[in-house]
Amino acid sequence: MEILMSILIGFLFMAAVYLILSRSLLRIIIGTGLLSHGTHLLLLTMGGLGGKAAPVLSDGVTDYADPLPQALILTAIVISFGVTAFSLVLAYRTYNELGTDNMDLMKGTEDND
C-alpha cells in the first residue's frame, strides 16, 4: 500500500513541478495546490498506513492508526490554505495593477541596470 501511495505522490509532485514551471500565474498556483496535496499525502504515508481503527478511544480496540501524522497534516492543511488564499488574492491584485498574468512579463524593474 505504501508503494502505491509513494508512486501516486510522485506523480502529484511531477505534475506540481510541471505546473509551477509554466508561464501563467494561475497554473502556478494550481501547481502549489497539487504540491501541498502531495506533501500531506506523504506525511500520512510516512507515518505508516497500519492500524485498524481511527484514533478515537473506544472499547475493545487495540490497534489504532498513528494519530500524530494526522495532527501534523491538519496543521499543514490550514497553513497552506491560508497561504493559498493570500496568493490567490495577490494574483488578482497583480492582474489588476500590472494587467498581465504572464510571469515572463513580470521580470526586472524599469530602473534596473
Binding site: 502549489t32 501534523l72 497553513i79 496568493s87 513580470m106
Partner: protein, 495 residues
Amino acid sequence: MINLLLFPILIPFLFAAILLFFPKKVKAQRIITIIGLLTALSSAFVLLWKVKTDGVQSLTLGSWAPPFGITMVSDMMSALLVTSSLLIGLFVVWFSFTSIGIEREKSFYYPAILFMLTGVNGAFTTGDIFNMFVFFEVLLMSSYVLIVLGGEKVQLRESIKYILVNIVSSSLFVITVGYLYSVVGTLNMADISIKLADIGQAGIVTVIAVLFLIVFGIKGAIFPLFFWLPGSYAAPPIPILTLFGALLTKVGVYAIIRTYTLFFTTDIGFTHELLMIVSILTIIAGCIGALAYFDVKKIIIYNIIIAVGVILFGASVMNESGMMGSMFYLIHDILIKGALFLLIGIIIHITGTSDLRKMGGLIKRYPVLGWSYLIAAFGLAGIPPLSGFIGKLLIIQGGFENELLWQSIFILASSLIVLLSAIRIFIYAFWGEEKGALDFHPKTYRHLLAPTITLVVLTVLYGVGSEYLVPFMTDATAVLLDPSVYSNAVFGGGK
C-alpha cells in the same frame, strides 16, 4: 519563573493582537508597539541572564513528559538571537515613525512587525521540528504582508516570486519532516538527536541532512538557492528591508547550524564538507553581486549573502574557534546589517534615488551621516576595534586549525571585496560635486538619524566590548559542540 523563555514570543504576540483593534489610531499604535517591544526586550535580557547563570532552560508545554509535548528550549545561542532580533525590531519601529508613511501605518503595519518577531523568536526558541515549521510559517506570512503592504507595482511583482519560492520551500520542509519522522518516529529535537546518534551512519540520514540544507538554504539564501533574494528585498520600503535583511536569512542560518550540530553529526565527512563548499560558493556569488551594482540597496543586499556564507563556513569546520567565531559573526551581522540598511535608507531619503551615479557631495551638509556610515562600513569589513573583527578572526583561526588553508585565505580576501563594495557607496555618495536637490527637512533628518546613530554606536560597543561577551559565546559554543548538553537539559529539566 519557569515560563520566562516564552515571554519574548508571547509578549509581541499579545501586543500585536491588541493592535488589531484600532488600526486607524496611529499615535496609539506607535506608543503600544514601543511599550510592547521594550517589555519583550527586557524579558529577553532577563532570560539571557537566567541562561547565563542557570544553564540551558527548557519547558515542555502542558506538563507532558519531554518527548511527547512541545518543548521550548532556550540555550545561549537562541537567547542571544532572541535578544538581538527584538533589539533590531525596536530600532526598525523607531525609524518607521518618520520613514514609513501614515498610509502604511494605518494598514496593520505594526501588528505585522510584531507577528513577524513572534515567528522569528519562536523559531529561535522551539525544540520541536514541526513547531519550527509552524513558526517559520508565522514569520513568513507576516513577511508576505510586509513585503506587499502599500501595493506598488514593484512590490506586487516581486512579492509573487517571494511567495512562490517560500511556498515551495515550506512544502519541502514538511516533506523532509515526514521523511525524518518515518526514520526516527519522533519530532522532539533532543529526542531526534539521541535517536539519530543511535542509528549512526546511514544513507537515508545523510539524504535527510542534505534535504534540510536545501530547505533552510532557500530561507537563508545560500548558493545556488539565493536567486529570489536580491529582487524581493529591493522591493519593499527601507524599514521593512532592514527587518528582512537583518533577521529573515539569519533564521535559516540558525536552523542550518542547529540541525547540523544537533542532528547530523554522524557523517561529518560528507555533510559538513558539502556545507563548507556551498558556503565558499555563497561568498563568491555574494562578492560578484556586491561589486556588480550601482544600486545602494543591491550592494548591501549582496553583502547579506556574503555574511551568510562566512557564518556557515565557521559552523562547518566544527571546532571551538570556528563555532565561536560564527556566533560572534551572526550577532554582529544582525546589528551591522540593521545599521547599514538604516544608513542607506537616510541616503535614499535625502537624494531621492538609490542609484550611486546620481548622488554625490553629501559630506558637506551631512557630516554626521557620512562619518557614521564610514564607521559602519569599517565594522562590516572587520577593521580591528570594530564589531566584525573578532568573529572573522575566530572563523579563520578555526579554518587554519582544520588545515583549510585556501578556504581561510579566501575568507580573508572576501573581506577586501566587502570593504571595497561598502567604500564605493561612501565615495560616490559623500565625495565629489553636490548633485540633485539636497534640501532635506532638518527635523525629519534628525528623527531618522537618532535610531540609526544609536544602532551604529551599539555595533561599535559590540566590537570594543567583545571581551565581555566571550563568556556568553563560550556557553553558546559549548552547547553547539556537545549535543548531549541540549538533550540532557530537555530530558532532565522538564520533569
